[in-house]
């Protein structure tokens, strides 16, 4: 072999052959235009980010198309590839049941230190399905939004300074929910370089809640 040409990896550890194969040639890469459901999990700051979009047949609830993009390591890219392959053609109810363990088994196992990176990809599928259900009035049991619901959602928004979510890093100072309005206080300067990114991420996670009409996000002045 000559240096510079792509060859079969001779590395046995730490990745399985399947992971390497999908890392080299991932399936279902892209972003679907006008998707029925979409999700963005992780952030550049946490080291991994996945964007997943899907199309659903509204009559049969079958996932007809699904694509992902990844800013991440090998296990993240491979997991994105395998879960899109697993979900394609399934109904959303079936796809919801896909677990990280199943994805990991399909991949022939993943190094334990890489769990986080691959869980992120599985979460993006669950979030995209949730997004679809909420946008298409498919949520059967409508839970009224309260502070706890908002807090759960915000655990999927990353703090760009640390790469850990905004709830665990205490970036969220206060949450108020009343009469269809959510008010969130963020412990970040208004003119901070990441303020608008955090605002967009928060809005994206909250706006699909069925009983919320208005989102007010206050930064430090």
């Amino acid at each position: 072999m000559m240096p510079g040409e792509e060859n079969e990896s001779k590395m046995s550890a730490p990745y399985s052959d399947k992971v390497i194969e999908l890392f080299k040639n991932p399936k279902n890469v892209g972003i679907i235009k006008d998707p029925d459901g979409k999700a963005k999990e992780g952030s550049p700051a946490c080291g991994d980010m996945v964007v997943l979009t899907l199309k659903v047949d509204e009559n049969t609830d079958e996932i007809t198309d699904i694509k992902f993009k990844s800013y991440g390591c090998a296990s993240n890219i491979a997991t994105g590839s395998i879960i899109t392959e697993m979900a394609k053609g399934k109904t959303i109810e079936e796809a919801k049941e896909i677990t990280w363990q199943e994805a990991s088994e399909e991949l022939g196992g993943l190094p334990s230190i890489k769990t986080h990176c691959s869980v992120l990809a599985v979460d993006s599928l669950k979030e995209a399905i949730r997004d679809y259900e909420e946008r298409h009035g498919k949520v059967e049991e409508r839970v009224p939004t309260d502070e706890g619901v908002v807090r759960e959602r915000l655990k999927h928004v990353m703090n760009p300074l640390t790469g850990i979510d905004v709830v665990r890093t205490d970036l969220i100072k206060d949450i108020e929910v009343a009469g269809g309005t959510v008010k969130i206080k963020v412990d970040l300067d208004e003119d901070h370089q990441f303020a608008s990114a955090v605002r967009n991420d928060i809005e994206e996670k909250i706006e699909t809640l069925w009983d919320i009409d208005e989102i007010i996000i206050n930064f430090k002045r």
Binding site: M1, F23, P26, P44, G47, V51, C73, A74, I77, C117
Partner: protein, 388 residues
């Protein structure tokens, strides 16, 4: 192996030079006595002579007296001994230590360990190229300060500190100054006659010498306490049977480095940096353009993650390393890139290329082409950048 591999991770470790092995061999098979047997039998005298000749070669490179150099098992031990030996040995004089925030782990984690035992530690700020803030240094030194440790050159981004200015400040303030020269020794001159540095950490395996051997320069009269009990070897500062083959190999490795080689490394790394900045979009050079070690290039390729780059390059027979969190056992992003004010994204996409004796210009060409293609492919998968 050479035909199949472009090895650009020479700051992690290097391929040992065959001439080093040849120099070491007699001390495994012919002159294998311990140096402390010099008063008992002839082979002991010869062993001792071999050890002292090696000490002379290495210490003279620093313009030090051979009395001022001890051998250790490597730079980790040297830095532990310097920082712990001075701090613990002078506890009644003070309890404050100063290190830069971008030190390599032997200093950084030794400082943290001392901090847990009650010492106060100041972590010096650095600017966006990695240079220690001299004002912060001056302001940090107080009556309690025992020692300042600032590396000569950085392990990841290659920044070469203004070592003379730092040493002068420490001398004026009457505190000891240690520098970790693991990544600069023989590559960048260091003259301890000119520069008032008190302790210097040295390593053998980063310059095509053997692993398991390092050195510590200890200026005459420096107050330091031994950290490992046992025999009285190495000026009673480092117990244990001397690694004479290692010391001899280390000395040979030092002799084999010359300024032509350093110029050659510098040219390869300059070509790599210039070509990558030209060929690939959205690239940031980490560290200083001018004041960097001849072997080091470090660039961030935005919108892609470093481990993915290194893995693809490995499939193409190119070995490099990255500051990405995904690459580290701790899943923490490089403290050097974040230390110079880079965000996590900049650390995640950072790739370190370090050259050595066995690289040539063809390696540069192959690497530039491979990196351009790999980064482009990964950007097609990435949700960042592009039109979005």
């Amino acid at each position: 192996m050479k035909e199949n591999l472009v090895y650009l991770d020479n700051s992690a470790s290097t391929r040992m030079d065959e001439r080093v092995l040849e120099a070491m061999k007699p001390y495994f098979f012919d002159t294998y006595a311990v140096a402390t047997s010099e008063f008992a039998y002839t082979m002991g005298i010869e062993a001792k002579e071999g050890l002292e000749a090696a000490r002379e070669i290495i210490s003279s490179t620093l313009k030090a007296s051979s009395e001022e150099l001890i051998f250790t098992s490597g730079s980790t031990e040297s830095s532990n001994l310097a920082l712990k030996g001075v701090s613990r040995g002078n506890e009644d004089e003070g309890n404050h230590i100063i290190v830069s925030k971008i030190e390599d782990f032997p200093i950084l984690n030794t400082a943290k360990a001392l901090e847990r035992k009650g010492f106060e530690v100041t972590y010096l700020e650095v600017d966006e190229e990695g240079f220690v803030n001299l004002e912060h240094l001056k302001d940090s030194i107080d009556d309690e300060t025992l020692i300042v440790s600032v590396q000569h050159a950085n392990q990841e981004i290659g920044t070469v500190q203004e070592i003379e200015a730092i040493a002068d400040i420490c001398k004026d303030e009457n505190v000891l100054f240690h520098t970790d020269a693991t990544h600069s020794f023989t590559r960048i001159p260091l003259d301890v006659k000119d520069i008032p540095v008190d302790l210097v950490t040295l390593s053998g395996h980063t310059i095509h010498g053997p692993r398991g051997i390092g050195g510590l320069f200890v200026r005459e009269g420096t107050s330091i306490e031994k950290q490992m009990d046992g025999g009285f070897q190495e000026k009673n500062l480092r117990a244990g049977v001397e690694n004479i083959p290692g010391a001899v190999g280390f000395a040979k490795a030092v002799e084999l480095v010359n300024s032509e080689e350093n110029e050659r490394l510098k040219k390869m790394r300059n070509d790599l940096i210039e070509n990558l900045l030209e060929e690939v979009s959205h690239v940031t050079l980490n560290g200083s353009r001018k004041e960097r070690t001849p072997q080091n290039a470090n660039l961030t390729f935005h919108y892609v993650e470093g481990e993915s780059i290194t893995l693809h390059l490995d499939m193409r027979g190119i070995a490099v390393s990255t500051g990405s969190a995904c690459f580290s056992r701790s899943l923490e992003a490089s403290h050097v890139i974040t230390g110079i004010g880079g965000d996590h994204e900049r650390a995640h996409g950072s790739v370190r290329f370090t050259f050595g004796r066995y690289n040539d210009q063809e390696d540069v060409n192959v690497t530039v082409k491979a990196v351009s293609e790999v980064v482009e492919n990964l950007r097609e998968i990435s949700p960042l950048g592009g039109e979005e």
